[in-house]
Symmetry: D3
Subunit: 315 residues, 6 copies
Amino acid sequence: MNNKIFVKELKEHLNKEFISNFLVSQKELREGAKDFYIRLKLNDSTGSIPGNVWNNAKVISEKFEVGDVIQVKGVVISYKAQLQVTVNKVTKIPEEEYNLSDYLETTGKDINKLSEKLFNYVDGIKNSYLKQLLSKIFDDKEFFTIFAQAPAAKTWHHNYIGGLLEHTVAVASICEFSTHLYKVDKDLLITGALLHDIGKVLEYNIKPTIEFTAEGRLVGHIPLGDHIVSTKAAEIDNFPPDLLFKLRHLVLSHHGEYEKASARLPQTLEAIVLHHADNFDAQTVGVAQLVESVQSDDAKWTEYDKLNNRYYYIK
Amino acid sequence: MNNKIFVKELKEHLNKEFISNFLVSQKELREGAKDFYIRLKLNDSTGSIPGNVWNNAKVISEKFEVGDVIQVKGVVISYKAQLQVTVNKVTKIPEEEYNLSDYLETTGKDINKLSEKLFNYVDGIKNSYLKQLLSKIFDDKEFFTIFAQAPAAKTWHHNYIGGLLEHTVAVASICEFSTHLYKVDKDLLITGALLHDIGKVLEYNIKPTIEFTAEGRLVGHIPLGDHIVSTKAAEIDNFPPDLLFKLRHLVLSHHGEYEKASARLPQTLEAIVLHHADNFDAQTVGVAQLVESVQSDDAKWTEYDKLNNRYYYIK
Amino acid sequence: MNNKIFVKELKEHLNKEFISNFLVSQKELREGAKDFYIRLKLNDSTGSIPGNVWNNAKVISEKFEVGDVIQVKGVVISYKAQLQVTVNKVTKIPEEEYNLSDYLETTGKDINKLSEKLFNYVDGIKNSYLKQLLSKIFDDKEFFTIFAQAPAAKTWHHNYIGGLLEHTVAVASICEFSTHLYKVDKDLLITGALLHDIGKVLEYNIKPTIEFTAEGRLVGHIPLGDHIVSTKAAEIDNFPPDLLFKLRHLVLSHHGEYEKASARLPQTLEAIVLHHADNFDAQTVGVAQLVESVQSDDAKWTEYDKLNNRYYYIK
Amino acid sequence: MNNKIFVKELKEHLNKEFISNFLVSQKELREGAKDFYIRLKLNDSTGSIPGNVWNNAKVISEKFEVGDVIQVKGVVISYKAQLQVTVNKVTKIPEEEYNLSDYLETTGKDINKLSEKLFNYVDGIKNSYLKQLLSKIFDDKEFFTIFAQAPAAKTWHHNYIGGLLEHTVAVASICEFSTHLYKVDKDLLITGALLHDIGKVLEYNIKPTIEFTAEGRLVGHIPLGDHIVSTKAAEIDNFPPDLLFKLRHLVLSHHGEYEKASARLPQTLEAIVLHHADNFDAQTVGVAQLVESVQSDDAKWTEYDKLNNRYYYIK
Amino acid sequence: MNNKIFVKELKEHLNKEFISNFLVSQKELREGAKDFYIRLKLNDSTGSIPGNVWNNAKVISEKFEVGDVIQVKGVVISYKAQLQVTVNKVTKIPEEEYNLSDYLETTGKDINKLSEKLFNYVDGIKNSYLKQLLSKIFDDKEFFTIFAQAPAAKTWHHNYIGGLLEHTVAVASICEFSTHLYKVDKDLLITGALLHDIGKVLEYNIKPTIEFTAEGRLVGHIPLGDHIVSTKAAEIDNFPPDLLFKLRHLVLSHHGEYEKASARLPQTLEAIVLHHADNFDAQTVGVAQLVESVQSDDAKWTEYDKLNNRYYYIK
Amino acid sequence: MNNKIFVKELKEHLNKEFISNFLVSQKELREGAKDFYIRLKLNDSTGSIPGNVWNNAKVISEKFEVGDVIQVKGVVISYKAQLQVTVNKVTKIPEEEYNLSDYLETTGKDINKLSEKLFNYVDGIKNSYLKQLLSKIFDDKEFFTIFAQAPAAKTWHHNYIGGLLEHTVAVASICEFSTHLYKVDKDLLITGALLHDIGKVLEYNIKPTIEFTAEGRLVGHIPLGDHIVSTKAAEIDNFPPDLLFKLRHLVLSHHGEYEKASARLPQTLEAIVLHHADNFDAQTVGVAQLVESVQSDDAKWTEYDKLNNRYYYIK
């Protein structure tokens, strides 16, 4: 994949022909007024871009499916201030010639360093029950591989490979900082920070694109995480019941308000801190992603943020 | 306890002296402008009534505590259209001479008949996994004894011994009726109805009065119930994962809206039906209890229902 | 109309040419990039489907109007997972050759049986004033013909011919079932159930498609129904005023909350029950219709329900 | 009743003994720590004031009931910055010696002048149907007598005898002014203004204090008014149906939002104007009454307005 | 510009070719299935209309930009019940040959008369501090020129040249009328009415179309207005601090509710009146504009008002 | 004031007589059933406690007023699990013998150290305009003295002397920490943090207790702060307008939502961060204060938090 032109680099090729490989994450054969055409979404590790096949669409459409990696020969154009690709030629790449993960959008941070930070927080825990619990969960190599790849969302903040790890470490760091300001139970708080979104490991499929699992929609990451924590704690001798309730409370209440789908309202000082730390990171990164997604150099404002009813000023 | 005058009967003794036994569920020594007095709440199986000790309060206050059963000699008076007892004499009853359960407010329905109905619903289930699950839970005698005594609430609807069983059977009956109207998975729906509030067994203490447990406040009956269902299902060989998700979904979504502390929104037809059946019974019984609590024969309206911002007309 | 291929059967003709008659419920001549085309909505008693006329659109557009029945020669195609018809030839059918009602979407239930059930409920009423009132309203043959055809909504639940009758009978049956659970005034409750949506008879036009009348939008079915009930009761000698207020209250409060356009909040036990019974049936049937509308056999989820912000799982 | 000291004048008698007659609008015998006392509310045409009988309460309590007019000998004191009366002696006045209406709180404006203004608006209507309708309603002497006495509320704005007339004329005047600013159907708008709260005639009892009728709570003034308008219009030959829908719409939508218990949302320009005119007068007079109720000369702020969550600055 | 055909007159030219000049307020080169086309928005003082260039789009697109005035040769067509222009020929008009202001949508009222009314209100102020303040602001010719051109909104009510002046005078007139009904400080109220939206002068750019300034979005017209008032008052000797707080309060609270972006809640009688007067005019004119924008003579209802969730009946 | 027994120490004197000095922050002469008594609130730097004078109340009441410091001889009792003082003797302390500030509740942190931290943040600013602005504001000794004493609230979080400084430094520290996580303009963000609540200096009076000023209620701390920032920036040559808008935006939007009385919604990344940092500290300290206020050693839960509808678990 040397010479690959990444999605993030395409703006440098505006109005020029190029060749590169992408994952097909959406594909739709549409009937236009005069002929059929194909509407595509093309992804790689740096992001995604829409594409259109205008000519010979019915025939080309037979050649590949959503989830395939294809070689595209095309031209980058700008339409309504957004880039898109006019696709002139498509060649399907055989599965054995690529690694799908190379084509999934991925955190810009170093996953190894983030993992190291997470284990440093685990090492810092003094309460032996909480430490055992964290070890049980994160020392399971198979589980941790999945955890380290998981996204923290389908849309909005941290919606990419490694997003869950990145978010978890950020929330833990804010919680740790807060222990210098407020009298909280540090071990409980940091454990809660590390486990608060653990259920997201089961909430999403990531290939070929991030989608909710049936489990994710029907049960949701909060009860899924609560269940992981409860089940693992049950395997530890004499895990103090009161400590477990307080830890489950952190997982269950971290969304802060019922309206935000929290299963509980925060009712301990640690739960208040965790909720605010989680929200702080989630909202800030959500806006930061929106600000960074602006392609035009002239723009003074981002696209409209429908979720929060506003534009953001980007100077 | 023959000759006992029950709380519900006290209005027949208005302005007369009487003697009877009650459980003390609240007790507070207050400083009045001139002297101390005691403010009490007196309970038995038929309800509760406020009481006051005006004379010799400091001395009398030493004689008993909240949770004790006392013999009261006093007079029933009417104050602000509510009955209360002016307590003239108090004698503490030794613990070995009474059964605390006789003094807890209890459902007016027959607990044995309700239990029988519940087991009829269990017998009617055809899906073997769901049937095994229900048996695992309800055939545990020790558990069922607790379940059959549990209240369904601290305030509002079914807030008395046996309230959970009464509510569970009513919801199951509405769900069964609905299978004549709508195309639903009957086994799944009835199982969900029987288990939807199972976590309430852990949410409340009932002696001497109904109070939230720490677990009840920090975890809540919905995640507590979800955990019981998940853990018990995990003990059954080959319990179909998809069936488990759908069942957990019923438990997690039965409050219907996030604002009402639902952990999920109903996203299956069975979940829609269960939510409405639960709400139907809870709201109707809540209002029915309020209507029945009106003591005055002249009243055309109930007391103000602060939760729902209205009075109810009682003709 | 023997040999007619119904809308519900069209998926069996995917990608094949067919001939059948439909009612035109929408028609729009649009200017495409290169030429005009016609966008249609085609209806019959089993539902509706979109259609397009790509060729010779301006000429063909002159031949028929919204409300006409036309013979269509075309091909069923699948576009964005929805079926639609590419219309190749159109022939207008003369009005005298068809019955418009055969082309309106209609309840799948038997209207005669539903009517019978309704009159059984009327027969069961013991209170003579309420019985007279119901007779005055439902024994009027002309009125009942309109009532039995009326829809219960323009969109969402029961939005088809006979929908109002179907919904009315379902609500009455739930209310009747509830009389086994709660101490309510059965005659009042059943009368309220039968009359709660009576104003919908004036709220909609049904031909060629269900639309609000000016009266429906400016006055609304709740005040329209309240007026019918008041006016008819005024014709009955000595109708007890208090009974009338309680019955009007049922009609006025059945939406349950001001936010849902209820004219009153439910303030009697019967009003609580009626509101919940109405909501139970409306919401369940709304979701059931959405679940049944899914055309693809592979789909695990319905389309997004914008009104309630969720997808539904259909296994 | 010459020499009567009115409620509004009592602050001039602070800490002095006085004698005057008042209507008893509330009366409650309460048990204090040492003895019984009576809590009263005393009214006359200028307002109301709380009172207490500390001595010999049980005996005095037998002498009069709510709704009686009594002669009070007492002292005005200030308690928590509010005036109240310590009642030392009570004499019941025989019914034949007073006119109850003299003791009900009454508008400060001249009811005859307000009536004259109202009939001027009626005279100005050119549309013959609307004029007939208004005449049918307001030319009924018996009805108009009740209308001219009715309050516009139990609490908040215009909650006194004549309040409905005062409010109706104010809303009509604002609507008339608005016809200089906006292109509206003046006859329709003024008719709507004069009739918008007509149902309040049936919503309240006024003696001995303003209370909701059963009809008022169960049906409400909006449907009650809609019914009066519909019924009276039905008696006029050829009243145009569309005109009636638009007029009923004004009555039904004047609260503006469903959350404010409006039966419809304003959907004509006249309905928008009427809603805003109604709200303008109601809110302004509500605050003006609160500002005027401040008794202390030092106060810079009113009491807390719980309905609107704020204090008002009065300098 | 004699012979100019105005936007409002185009419906008289339906399906005919015409020639006229317009300002280009939007322009987008789009890629259709077969070829590029240009989507335009064309404005003049009477309104705006969409337009399309179907032929030779890439070449024509080079000839003019947004903000230019162009001569258009084209045909008026009706599409989805809305008028639009099929543009066949475009000629750019040199800047020196037109006055941009002639092409901006402008109030239908006479700006000179509105200005005269405004100064009459200023002349009527008796309080010398308030009068000085108003003079300082409105007697600044340069400022007043901008003020008299400013719109009162980007969308919804008064969103055209002169809209701010028109709205300001209307609000002042309603406030003045209200002084006949309520006991308010007239000078303070009228001054507040004249200054309440003064910050809008800085909130919008008007050329070539009304857009928010960065200042408008980041600071907003309420704090911008508060700052103008504070700064100007600071230049007047001995301006009473309390009077200034009350005046700033009028500016800061005129939106009435926090949810409507009000910086304060109205906490004086004058603030209550000003808020209602402002809302009255804004909402009524908003609906009136929507009603007047209906082009079809057959329509009985306006387009859907998404902001307020309703249609309006137009008879 | 050696030997003073502080409010926080009174629980060690339960049921014992003691002598100490306090500030009277509330005082009310009430009429009981048998005699008058005085209800007091007694304050010092460590908090406040209720008190009652039961004997000789009318005479004692003449001796002192709210705002005086008095020597109290009394007994600490426990009533409804809250401590209060039964006052037996009162001696007024002459004003010249005490410093009122010693009796106002004060931050538990060191004001000098907090000030030092604040000036360290100022020193760290590199942007010369922002640095000049901060110096202009905080280097004014007189202003800083007031700022360092100001509370951050009347109730809820940081409602004590020095609370504003403590909160400001905490918010700045969270903002600084966040610059390690997110790409923000550090100088702008830290300046915004230091100035976000600057208007609170004018919002409260602190003697004898924290109360809103008229300015505080009518204008509010957000517009007051915006005005300080704007006015001071105007005195700096060439302060870049865009920088000023962005800084004002931080002040105006820091409450985050209109419902929370924010004048703007956060529309820059720095505004998002500041809002979350502010909310994080305010909410956490609010709950921490509530947790610390629990006097009983047995309590497992705090008092009910009405603002947030919950209890907090305190282990």
